[in-house]
Symmetry: C2
């Protein structure tokens, strides 16, 4: 799966880069490669596969689109007018290397590239495209997607659950639902799994931020505390947050709807999420 995701991303970035203004083109590659764990696209392909869609251009396009939207949000969230983050994924952030103007444009181009990638693969299955584009747009934009999540940080008072649902949950929900759509299934039963995994990732991110020293998470530590952002660690303490994370993952596995590959998918969810638990809290000693 990892290869199919990387290939789809390489193709999408090459399409946006070839013939582009050189600095913009370089910034697009820099923002997407090398990636993190590619969790959202993996989740999407796993759901598609569990629904009998082992491999299709549309499934790969959906996986790539999720990651492109994720990368776009990282580039924009790191800008000086937001977090002014100096590092991302263990290297200098896009605006530190290419400047603010190119970082704004790179984020824009990655958003557009996500939809272009869907459209080009959609030629092979047009009847599935409207629902797929609509759900990706809902996950990316306003009122309840990534952009809205980031915009809550500019409000004097932040509804915490809604903020996390938009900022982290939305792409996980889109991942599970898109996996169903590309396989020709009703996406609604897949929402709950995405929601729980999204919450689990948010808690894991809060833990990483609170426990990391220096920049071991690939970005500077203790940003939540410094910026006064809502955090599961602040609300529940470290032990409470770890327990909450485990409960959410179990809930995500339970929420997998009946389908051909349900058992495999439940196992994968548990396994993906166990990776999120900070090392010193792992249950297995192996």
């Amino acid at each position: 799966m990892q290869n199919r995701i990387e290939n789809a991303l390489v193709n999408a970035v090459a399409r946006a880069e070839h013939g582009a203004p050189p600095r913009l083109g370089s910034a697009l590659s820099y923002a997407v490669f090398p990636g993190g764990a590619r969790v959202r696209p993996l989740l999407c392909l796993a759901v598609a596969e569990a629904n009998g869609e082992a491999a299709s251009p549309l499934a790969e396009a959906a996986a790539a689109a999720l990651e492109l939207l994720h990368c776009a949000s990282l580039v924009h969230d790191d800008l000086p007018c937001f977090d002014d983050a100096s590092e991302r994924r263990g290297k200098p952030s896009v605006h530190r290397v290419f400047g603010e103007a190119i970082a704004v444009l790179a984020g824009d181009a990655l958003i557009v590239s996500a939809f272009e990638t869907l459209a080009l693969a959609g030629m092979t299955a047009p009847h599935r495209l409207p629902a797929l584009v609509a759900l990706m747009a809902r996950a990316a934009g306003s009122p309840s997607g990534l952009v809205a999540g980031q915009a809550w940080e500019s409000e004097p008072s932040v509804p915490v659950a809604e903020y996390h649902r938009a900022k982290t949950g939305s792409l996980f929900v889109a991942a599970t639902m898109a996996g169903a759509v590309v396989a020709g299934r009703d996406p609604l039963p897949w929402r709950a799994m995405g929601e729980k995994l999204g919450e689990a990732y948010q808690v894991a991110d809060d833990l990483l931020d609170a426990l990391a020293e220096g920049s071991e998470g690939g970005k500077p530590a203790r940003q939540d505390e410094k910026l006064g952002r809502p955090s599961a660690v602040a609300a529940l303490g470290v032990d409470g947050a770890v327990a909450h994370l485990r409960a959410l993952v179990a809930g995500a596995a339970d929420a997998v709807p009946e389908c051909k590959g349900a058992a495999t998918l439940r196992g994968l969810a548990l396994q993906m999420a166990e990776r999120l638990v900070p090392v010193r809290f792992k249950q297995s000693a192996a």
Copy 2:
């Protein structure tokens, strides 16, 4: 037509605004209303109508999407890291009113909203959606759309024709081609008309910038000269630029492919473009 365009835009913005973080929601309305001449959506609907598609949800969605992408690019281009424009359409620019963070996010949300608008209307005509989304993405993104056009300004050396084609031409080409696609026609013959009109608008914009006093064009005058940007006025002089504008408009009218409403559409192109010629150069004395 103007009413159908405004209605489609009102619906798109309301969808993005309802339930959104309040400052983001307000910024979206502020960026889209009141609009300019809505030239790109008018052109799209006129081409659809000339091809026998008098009114359809997909045609209106395409028109709205063009304007949303245009507004997004205005919001981002005005940011401090680009032009740092204080005014736009005769009022303070989005970042001056709402701050830089919200301006970045508003632009992002408008881009996403354009694709969401297409997808929702695409449910009624899914077979036309892949081509429509692909051509809008090409016009908006990289390597040859609005984003790429803006990124050429960050390069040490700018290929002028390519810069203008991307920055101004791309949405005009998308407008004429989308008008054909929503009517179920081959879009390729419609490219030339969009290209010529896009060039004409670029020349008109250069003239407006060079001839305007203060901020009568709704934005500060003489920006091209101040920022050392390529301009038809710098290259051809004012008279030469006016002559070039007229030739481009005549070329656009000649480029209208044979279709039911070709004569009307040619008339409309001439009329739209005549509005672009600075007053003191108008031929008619009426």
